[in-house]
C-alpha cells in the first residue's frame, strides 16, 4: 500500500517536472520563431533604401533591381497572408534576387566607394546572416524540444500532456533556394 503510494507520488512529481520542462522548451520554440520573423521584416525595410542608393550607378542592371523590388513586394505580401509555405517560397526568391544583386555590385567598383552603399551592403549582409542564424537557432531549439518528447519514457506521456513535435524550418522541395546557380562563362 505504502509502496504503491510512494511509486504514484514519485510518478506525479516526475510528471510535473517533465511538463514544466516541456512548457519551457515550447515557449523557447515560439520565441525563436518570432526572431526569424523580426529579421525578415528588417530585410524588407532595408531593401528599398539599398535599391535607391545603387539605382544611379547601376542603371544597366535594371532587370536585377526590378526583380529585387518585385521579390520584396511578393515576400511582404506573403508575410501578411500568413501562409507558411508561401512565406518560405517568397523569402527564398528574395534571397536569390539579393544574392544576384550582391554579385553584380562587384562589377561596379565605384559603388564600393560610396559610403551609403557600403553601409547598406553591410546592413543587408548582417541581416542575411541574422536570418540564417535565427533559423539555425530555431532548428536547434526545435530539435531539443522534439528529442525531449521522444525519449523514453517521456514519449508515453508527451501527447497526453498536450505536446506535439514542432516542425523544423526547412526549404520546400521546389524552393528556388535549392536551385544550383548556373554559371555562364561565355563572353
Amino acid at each position: 500500500m505504502t509502496v504503491l503510494a510512494i511509486v504514484l507520488g514519485l510518478l506525479a512529481v516526475w510528471l510535473v517536472f517533465t511538463f514544466n520542462k516541456l512548457v519551457g522548451l515550447k515557449n523557447q520554440v515560439l520565441n525563436a520563431f518570432r526572431q526569424i520573423d523580426v529579421q525578415l521584416k528588417r530585410r524588407h525595410d532595408l531593401i528599398p533604401n539599398l535599391v535607391n542608393a545603387v539605382k544611379g550607378e547601376m542603371k544597366f542592371e535594371k532587370e536585377t533591381l526590378e526583380s529585387v523590388v518585385q521579390a520584396r513586394a511578393a515576400a511582404v505580401n506573403a508575410g501578411q497572408g500568413g501562409n507558411m509555405n508561401e512565406v518560405l517560397a517568397k523569402e527564398g526568391m528574395l534571397t536569390q534576387a539579393l544574392g544576384k544583386l550582391f554579385a553584380l555590385t562587384e562589377n561596379y567598383p565605384n559603388l564600393k566607394a560610396v559610403e551609403v552603399v557600403r553601409t547598406l551592403m553591410e546592413e543587408l549582409r548582417t541581416t542575411e546572416n541574422q536570418i540564417g542564424f535565427s533559423r539555425q537557432f530555431y532548428n536547434d531549439i526545435v530539435t531539443r524540444f522534439n528529442i525531449q518528447q521522444q525519449v523514453f519514457p517521456t514519449n508515453m506521456f508527451a501527447a497526453m500532456l498536450g505536446f506535439q513535435p514542432a516542425a523544423l524550418w526547412e526549404l520546400p522541395a521546389d524552393s528556388v533556394e535549392r536551385n544550383v546557380p548556373k554559371v555562364d562563362l561565355t563572353v
Binding site: 523557447q28 546572416n129 535565427s134
Partner: protein, 345 residues
C-alpha cells in the same frame, strides 16, 4: 554535452572551486589565529600554581576565543568575490582602456553587427560591445550574468581579420558568456588575488613578527613534546601559506584551459564553420607582439594569452600547469578535426 548540461557543470565547478578556496582561506586564517593571536578553543581553563618565588604563575594563559584572523580572511575573500561580481566588467574595461564601439566607423559597425548575429545564433541577449585601442589582435569577454556581459576586441583585430574570422572570434567569446565560463573565471580570479594578498600578509608576519607566543612562554603551553608538535604544525602551515598562491593559480589555470577548448568547440557549433576560427587563430598567432593594453589579470579571459609569451606554444609539463590557454597547436588541430568530421558526414 549540450549547453544546459554545460552550464550545469560550470555551476558545479564554481561551487567546487569556491569550496576549495574556502578551505584554503580557513587553513591560512585559522593557522594565523593559532600561531599569532593565541586562538585556541580546545585549551582548558588556565591553572595557577604557586612558584618558588612565592607568587602565583599562570599556566595555560587564558586563550583568546574569537578567531579574528579566520573571520578577517573569510570576509576579505567574500568582499573580493562580491566586488568582482558587481564591478568586474567595469573594472576590466577600465583597466584595458576600452571604449564603446561606435556605429559610425565601418569596421566597428561590422563588429557590432557580428556580435548581434552571434547573439541570435546563441540565443543570448546582446552583450555590450567595446573596442580596446591596441594594435595587437586579441579579444575578451567579461560579465557575471547575461545582462552585464561585454565583449571587447582590439583595434588590431578589427583591422586584420575579415568578416568570417571576426565572426569566429566573436562566437568564441559569446560561448564563454553562454556557458557561464565568465562566472567560474571571475570568481577564480578574485579568489586567486585574495589568496595571494592574504598569504603575502601572513608570510610577512611570519618573517617579522616571529611566533610571539611560543617564544615568550618558552613552550610553557604544553610541555616539550607538545612544543615540537606545534613547531611541525607551524612549518606545515608556513609551507601552505607560501604555496597557496601557486596552488590556487594552478587550479584556476586548469579550469581556464578546459574552458578554452570548450569555447572553441561551441564557437564552431554557433558558426557551423570551424575553419573560420582556425584561420583567425592563425592570424592572431602570427602577431606575436604582446597586447600592451591588456594586463595579466585579464589574461585568462582573452582568446589568446595577451602576454605574447611562448609558453602557449610549448606543451610540456610546466606549460600544462601554468598556461592560461592550451597550446595554439592543439586548439587548431582540434578545430581542424571538427571540420573534417563535418566534411565526411
Amino acid at each position: 554535452m549540450n549547453i544546459y548540461e554545460q552550464q550545469e557543470t560550470n555551476r558545479r565547478t564554481t561551487m567546487v572551486l569556491l569550496g576549495a578556496f574556502l578551505l584554503l582561506f580557513l587553513a591560512v586564517g585559522a593557522g594565523f589565529d593559532f600561531f599569532y593571536l593565541s586562538f585556541n578553543p580546545i585549551a582548558g581553563e588556565p591553572s595557577y600554581k604557586l612558584n618558588s618565588a612565592g607568587y602565583y604563575e599562570a599556566h595555560n594563559a587564558r586563550p583568546q576565543m574569537i578567531p579574528y584572523g579566520t573571520i578577517a580572511a573569510l570576509l576579505f575573500g567574500i568582499a573580493m568575490v562580491l566586488n568582482s561580481v558587481f564591478n568586474g566588467p567595469k573594472m576590466v574595461l577600465r583597466s584595458t582602456m576600452a571604449r564603446r564601439a561606435v556605429s559610425t566607423d565601418p569596421d566597428e559597425k561590422q563588429f557590432i553587427n557580428v556580435v548581434r548575429e552571434m547573439s541570435i545564433a546563441s540565443g543570448v541577449p546582446m552583450p555590450g560591445t567595446y573596442v580596446v585601442p591596441d594594435p595587437d589582435a586579441n579579444a575578451f569577454a567579461a560579465g557575471f550574468s547575461y545582462d552585464n556581459a561585454v565583449i571587447a576586441v582590439t583595434e588590431g583585430l578589427l583591422k586584420n581579420l575579415n568578416r568570417e574570422e571576426l565572426q569566429a572570434v566573436v562566437a568564441h567569446e559569446m560561448s564563454h558568456i553562454r556557458n557561464y565560463d565568465m562566472r567560474v573565471m571571475t570568481v577564480a580570479a578574485a579568489l586567486m588575488g585574495a589568496i595571494a594578498l592574504i598569504s603575502d600578509f601572513a608570510g610577512r608576519s611570519a618573517r617579522y613578527g616571529g611566533r610571539s607566543r611560543g617564544r615568550s612562554s618558552g613552550g610553557g603551553r604544553s610541555g616539550k613534546g607538545g612544543g615540537a608538535a606545534v613547531l611541525i604544525l607551524f612549518v606545515v602551515w608556513l609551507f601552505l601559506v607560501i604555496l597557496a598562491p601557486l596552488f590556487s593559480r594552478m587550479l584556476a589555470m586548469a579550469i581556464s584551459r578546459q574552458r578554452e577548448f570548450l569555447a572553441d568547440a561551441s564557437a564552431a557549433e554557433l558558426t557551423r564553420n570551424p575553419m573560420g576560427l582556425v584561420s583567425a587563430l592563425e592570424k592572431i598567432r602570427s602577431a606575436v607582439q604582446p597586447t600592451q593594453a591588456i594586463n595579466n589579470g585579464v589574461a585568462h579571459m582573452c582568446i589568446t594569452d595577451p602576454r605574447g609569451s611562448l609558453i602557449e606554444e610549448k606543451s610540456g609539463f610546466a606549460a600544462d600547469l601554468l598556461a592560461t590557454h592550451p597550446p595554439m597547436e592543439k586548439r587548431i588541430l582540434a578545430l581542424k578535426m571538427m571540420a573534417y568530421q563535418k566534411a565526411s558526414a
